[in-house]
Symmetry: C2
Subunit: 453 residues, 2 copies
């Protein structure tokens, strides 16, 4: 249900990366497995095969055997050991390097994991965290909540939102001059809100930089399964770090995050995630993170099972393989088409330029606002991009997030939309956007337009 | 499965309040409903009635209609409005006073709620929180994590773990003399680890005290559905506060916590909880708590539905009513018998005295250790109750928590067990405990027993 009737107006929610809220259907197989785990009394019911596939039943029994009393029992505060083992096997298959289940913690969504790690890094206002700009506000909010200092580094829009290591150096020296010691760096790959995939060369530079500056690297890789082009595939920071070998692989402290929310599964409401730490994190730090996690006892167990299922989906020959593959491909291919419709749509608009969404699920067009619009916004007491987004909402019902919510360079304006509205509705949405935008630009282009708004 | 084979020894885990891990079966009706919510594609399957009751199906449709895209979509960061409304109705039925859904937040278990509120109260080491001793370590750990100061007040073991307001006054003046300003007070009712139910008179005194000292009261009421006697029923702090009327009801800032983990449902691994704030909390504080909650996006949605189900269980006339009632009564009546077996068992032991478990799910016997045991423990570099609990574990496989983990008066020792082992195993466990204890006491009673251990 992508539309919501509110005071007679159809609102199109493209402001939150929440695929199921915009009509994406859940994948059948994992839902069957978790439903059976919730209803273990059905597993051996003679009629169970009428509603559930036999391989879902088998998997449910497998996951229940990994718990200490089903979904109603607390797990270890790091998550079920058996699921952490499956995650480690997935990482090993993905990267070609060993992964240790003891260094993997399951969490209630990746956000909770990020908060746990930042909590461990930040001691006070003197501790700085390098965060990309534009960035997903989880980072700014958490750093502010924990009393640390956000140290911004700018992504280069003209280089398809790539990362320039010289910018990092500048940011660090500037922080130093303010008495802030930078302790960690965040990368979001694929990017949110920018949608870019970091190149292998870029990742190497970043890791070398973290090595020389002794920074913990937080690799937010929650969109790793959502890639919409073939030229620049997702590569994990862990793989590059291992490729680089000693001394980097032995000394760079990397924590990577993943989730069941942000892949093509889109299971946001289940709140499942994990983080993996590299062996370079000292044992006492891992112990401390464990201790803090144990205050809240245990991440929710059903989402742990979703995570297990996500990293070990049906294989060729399994009863549910065909259906699972068909459903997965359907979602991913449609998203790929939607990413293109959206980028092309934005680039056809007056004063709008937009990089292609290489991955993740956002589009982040730059909106070049004419002086008249800037002045009218100022008169109205609004930040210019907020002014634009509100006008867009009023005129079309399209709800977006002003770029200033993610941070941007002075005088440069954006908005963020998701690429999630249903594919069949996309052309109409983009037409409606173009109509609004081009009229807005014409109106403000050659005059200050006070009287017209 | 209450026993775990470890290196040939049967370990009896009575150390964690995790009923399903000790063999308690989940209630059928709520699990049917949540299983169907996970598998919405089954709702209208012609065969669904062969595995799921019709009222579970109807309820699943009801809860799905409250979501914005099923269990896979984020909810509002405060939880689903429809479930918060059901919680408010439950509170209103329980207390006879209105409850406002806008002041109810759903959380990933009560622990997360407690952490959110303490995070909001504590600004630094100068902010003190009154916490009962003995206490559940969530409080000490969270206060320490947030950099606040724990201000202990002692519960009176000789008065069945009652609360003496004079102790509170002493604790507050002592804190003041150390430059700590007390901002909030925690009560755990029914108590953990003590199992006591606070009397109405006690609750009035506490609320009056919070009024005069301008303290936020955190009412941890997660065991409110687990009561094992009829003389002292659970009464909520909210009800007493409303009974007291103005100025108390208008000015005391109360936050009460509840969960799906700790009632007879015992659904710990689902991680569902709520907190309710009273109208005396300023609007900007509620807004701030909402803002912080929104950093982690949304509590897990399936546990929100468990919470909805817990506060609106089947009614007479519903298809599942009889089964639900039979299952619920079975659990509660057995727990009541187990509470008695355990208290009686402890009180039959040498040098052990134990208050009756009025509610919750713990027993907290005092172990009067003879001087010989104290000295041997010291020689071994162990806290005396830790020494005792380790010996108990070695001799019997019974795993308990030393009382020092919860705090206690100098020179007084306890242990905490849950009353959760299966009823049929309880007599054997208590016999085994008594045999160990009485031998231990005899061994240390009249000599220092160095050579014997």
């Amino acid at each position: 249900m992508p539309f919501c009737q509110k005071e007679g107006k159809k609102i199109i929610f493209t402001n939150v990366g929440n695929p199921h809220a915009l009509g994406q259907k859940p994948l059948t197989f994992p839902r069957q497995v978790v439903a059976l785990c919730q209803a273990p009394f059905l597993l051996d019911d003679p009629n169970v095969g009428m509603l559930f596939s036999a391989d879902a039943n088998k998997r449910a029994k497998h996951y229940l055997s990994l718990t200490s009393g089903g979904l109603g029992a607390y797990s270890d505060s790091r998550g079920l050991p058996g699921v952490r083992k499956e995650v480690a096997e997935f990482i090993q298959r993905r990267d070609g390097y060993p992964s240790d289940p003891e260094l993997i913690f399951l969490t209630d969504g990746a956000s909770k994991g990020v908060m746990q790690i930042l909590n461990c890094v930040i001691r006070g206002a003197g501790d700085g965290i390098l965060v990309p700009v534009p960035q997903y506000p989880l980072y700014s909010a958490t750093i502010s909540l924990l009393g640390g200092s956000l140290v911004p580094y700018y992504l280069d829009e003209s280089e398809n939102w790539g990362l320039d290591v010289n910018n990092l150096r500048q940011s660090v020296s500037q922080a130093h001059s303010q008495g802030i010691s930078v302790r960690a760096m965040v990368i979001i790959n694929p990017g949110n809100p920018t949608g870019q995939c970091l190149s292998e060369a870029n990742l190497r530079e970043i890791l070398r930089f973290c090595y020389s500056e002794k920074l913990v690297l937080l690799g937010d890789e929650v969109y790793q399964q959502k890639i919409y082009q073939d030229e620049r595939p997702f590569i994990s920071s862990k793989k590059i770090l291992m490729d680089m070998g000693s001394p980097f692989s032995k000394e760079v402290q990397l924590v990577s995050f993943h989730t069941v929310s942000k892949g093509y599964w889109g299971e946001c409401g289940q709140r499942g995630g994990y983080f993996e730490m590299t062996t370079s994190l000292p044992g006492f730090v891992v112990e401390e993170i464990y201790k803090v996690a144990s205050i809240a006892l245990s991440p929710n167990v059903s989402a742990q099972i979703f995570m297990g299922l996500m990293v070990s989906s049906p294989k060729p020959g399994d009863i549910s393989y065909d259906q699972f593959t068909r459903e997965s491909k359907g979602i991913l291919e449609s998203l790929r088409r939607r990413a293109k419709i959206m980028t092309d749509g934005f680039n056809s608009c007056k004063n709008v330029v937009c990089n292609f969404t290489e991955g993740a699920m956002y589009s982040f067009p730059q909106i070049q606002l004419p002086p008249g619009a800037l002045q009218t916004a100022k008169q109205a007491g609004k930040v210019p991009d907020v002014f634009y987004c509100l006008k867009l909402l009023e005129a079309t019902g399209i709800s977006t997030v002003p770029g200033s919510g993610f941070g941007q360079k002075e005088g440069v304006f954006h908005l963020r939309t998701t690429i999630l509205p249903a594919e069949e509705e996309m052309p109409e949405i983009m037409d409606s956007f173009k109509k609004f935008n081009d009229e807005f630009m014409t109106q403000y282009d050659n005059n200050f337009g006070y009287s017209r708004m």
